[in-house]
Amino acid sequence: MPKEPVAVVGIGQTKHVAARGDVSIAGLVREAAVRALADAELGWADIDAVVIGKAPDFFEGVMMPELYLADALGAVGKPMLRVHTAGSVGGSTALVAANLVSARVHRTVLTLAFEKQSESNAMWGLSLPVPFQQPLLAGAGGFFAPHVRAYMRRTGAPDGIGSLVAYKDRRNALKNPYAHLHEHDLTLEKVQASPMLWDPIRYSETCPSSDGACAMILTDRTGAARSPRPPAWVHGGAMRSEPTLFAGKDFVSPRAGRDCAADVYRQSGITDPRREIDAVEMYVPFSWYEPMWLENLGFAEEGEGWKLTEAGVTELDGDLPVNPSGGVLSTNPIGASGMIRFAEAALQVRGGAGEHQVDGARRALGHAYGGGAQFFSMWLVGDTPPAT
């Protein structure tokens, strides 16, 4: 029997901020879930199962918080599944939820991802103590900066590309009411003059630490037919993983990312992603990852990604808008960041992105990655049901 098509009929986010001191973790996730239910015009009783994701438990200091969150998410008496695949987790969580519908195990599933970074310090949560790791790194930026440098050396990209990405994403964020950073007085010069954190990554080219949650309601054809607003349809979804470190690993363009994208395009019937995809929400926690992923995901030839950025192709009004929401550079509740990419892609094809809507977006890609550029999850959503 062919798979059941999966539709996104509800999306909810919290207003992402540095610290949500006014709510508990339960309050935070419930806020996003309630908004997703309202968007779908459904109630808790309509939900068959809950699939929840977040990044490492050390980020809040709560082991397996889904146990404590069962009540807040209306999961009592229902299946509740917790996914954790590093930074890609928000995307992976949505895909696990989608599989429950496409396998016809459940009809309507609530999927949610969150991080409440203010309850701890993620940078040191990521800086592993001896004996797990040599004391050489401070946070994710320390890990990724050398790979950015390798990209620059390999492609000959000029120094200023990263600043262009950061300036674009932060300006896009001004059009997204849920984005964390709303820097109204930011200029390109200010980005370029911001302090160097991990050479070549400057302060303004780095993601913030956010408190936030994102939820989606996924359902089958029958559920989609009852949806009060246009659904987004899942045309393809995939995960790929490779080891953290090994001889021959290409950190600039990991094969797991390329394979994952190829799988999603195959499922979706995409042969020319640059022309056939209308908007991309990609996981860019450090500015330079935009040109790097443009190549990894097949939107540009090897060595050419930075030219698209430089030419303005990835601007909101360019012909391949990347991160119209402002992206991870403007909002980063780590465990939720992947799901926000997936949800923002869905918002685009539903025509519900408001001021950061890409005109006429019919197919959009949501992308997430994590670990040592080793875990990838992606989905492609469209405004019409997939051809079966």
């Binding site: 029997m1 062919p2 798979k3 508990s24 973790i25 490492p56 438990d57 050390f58 980020f59 809040e60 200091g61 709560v62 082991m63 397996m64 918080p65 889904e66 146990l67 404590y68 969150l69 069962a70 009540d71 999961a75 009592v76 008496g77 299946p79 509740m80 599944l81 917790r82 996914v83 954790h84 695949t85 590093a86 992976s92 696990v96 599989n99 429950l100 496409s102 396998a103 195990v105 949560g125 990521l126 592993l128 103590p129 797990f132 995960m239 790929r240 993983s241 490779e242 080891p243 953290t244 090994f246 990991p254 094969r255 797991a256 394979d259 994952c260 670990g371 040592g372 080793q374 875990f375």
Partner: protein, 352 residues
């Protein structure tokens, strides 16, 4: 639910469960069981359609601990892979769903846990409500003792009944070469009244792996596949104060959804770390004396936290593989006092 696609457990392996494994990293603990399930089926890592694991950073004492275990899988070329931050039984559930979509025909599932480096009683307090409960550090034995006392108060068990469960489990474990506590042990002193040392699981380290396969692929890989006739899991409220600790409605509902009550099972592998929890589960499932409960010795004989539930599914499947069971129920739990429960019903093809 009745699945659209036939999926079976076709191979199972587990490590020896040991009090300490100071000389082994998680990767070193996992690799032998991964190699063993591949050997059983003749598959290579590259033949596996989907891989899913279960583990906990809080046991490992570091963030992203599962990324290192992935090194043991041989994830090159890149693999389709996922991870759950809980017992590996839920990784098996995720993999089963993946096979039901038809996107993969085989799946590798593994999980591992090392409780020895820390104080697991204290570590497990971190999974309680972080605002109201965790600051009080109520440990896992104390909470289980509350549940046991509720059973005693309800007249559903007494200390001698609990002692009999402990003795039977460890006696059965004599036939399990991987068990940590084979053979009878004295019940000992109270750890937390009414639970004595004998009512509590051993603390130890271990790993397990399973291979799933769909349809004819399963028949090629295994002489007598353990078909998953149904599988479901349910969660209860977190606050112990709003639950009836003598019952497990989530286990009963999961079992009903998995089809467990359609016909009797001959075997049940129950994930009951405390003797008292076996009482709760057998009552909730309505298992009568004809059902062989925990022939492996169960969690009272070996409790590699985060793998114990997957071991239950594996042990039940292995009995079907060996022709010692035709229809078995396997159960896994997560959270304090059996908060979350998974039930699978496994069957072998009729014997000629």
């Amino acid at each position: 639910m009745t699945p659209d696609r036939e999926v079976a457990i076709v191979a199972f392996a587990q490590s020896d469960h040991l009090r300490r494994t100071d000389d082994l990293s998680e990767v070193e603990m996992v690799m032998p069981v991964l190699h063993e399930v591949l050997r059983q089926t003749g598959l290579k890592a590259a033949d596996i359609g989907f891989t899913c694991s279960g583990s906990s950073d809080y046991l490992a004492g570091r963030a992203f601990s599962f990324t290192m275990a992935l090194d043991g899988v041989g994830a090159w070329p890149p693999i389709s892979e996922s991870h759950v931050e809980t017992d590996g039984a839920w990784a098996l559930y995720e993999a089963w769903v993946k096979l039901l979509t038809g996107e993969a025909d085989t799946a590798l599932v593994y999980s591992y846990g090392k409780s020895s480096p820390g104080s697991v009683r204290d570590v497990l307090t971190r999974q309680l409500d972080p605002y109201y409960l965790a600051p009080l550090w109520p440990d896992s034995v104390a909470l289980a003792a509350l549940q046991a006392q509720a059973l005693v108060d309800a007249g559903a068990a007494d200390e001698s009944a609990l002692a009999a469960i402990a003795a039977r489990s460890r006696e059965d474990a004599r036939a399990n070469p991987h068990a940590q506590l084979p053979g009878a042990r004295p019940q000992g002193e109270y750890v937390v009244q009414p639970l004595r040392t004998g009512d509590c699981p051993p603390i130890g380290d271990g790993a397990a792996a399973v291979i799933l396969a769909a349809g004819d692929r399963a028949r090629e890989l295994c002489d007598r596949p353990a078909w998953i006739r149904g599988m479901d899991h349910r969660i209860e409220a977190h606050s112990l104060g709003v639950r009836d600790l003598t019952d497990s409605p989530s286990t009963r509902l999961a079992a009903e959804r998995a089809g467990a009550f359609e016909r009797p099972v001959d075997t049940a592998e129950l994930h009951a770390p405390f003797s008292s929890q076996e009482v709760v589960l057998t009552r909730a499932l309505g298992l009568d004396d004809d059902v062989r409960v925990n022939p492996s010795g169960g969690a009272l004989a070996a409790n590699p936290v985060m793998a114990t539930g997957l071991v239950r599914l594996g042990e039940a499947a292995a009995r079907i593989h060996r022709g010692e069971s035709d229809r078995a129920l396997a159960h896994a739990t997560s959270g304090p006092c059996l908060q979350q429960n998974l039930v699978a019903v496994l069957e072998g093809d009729p014997r000629a």
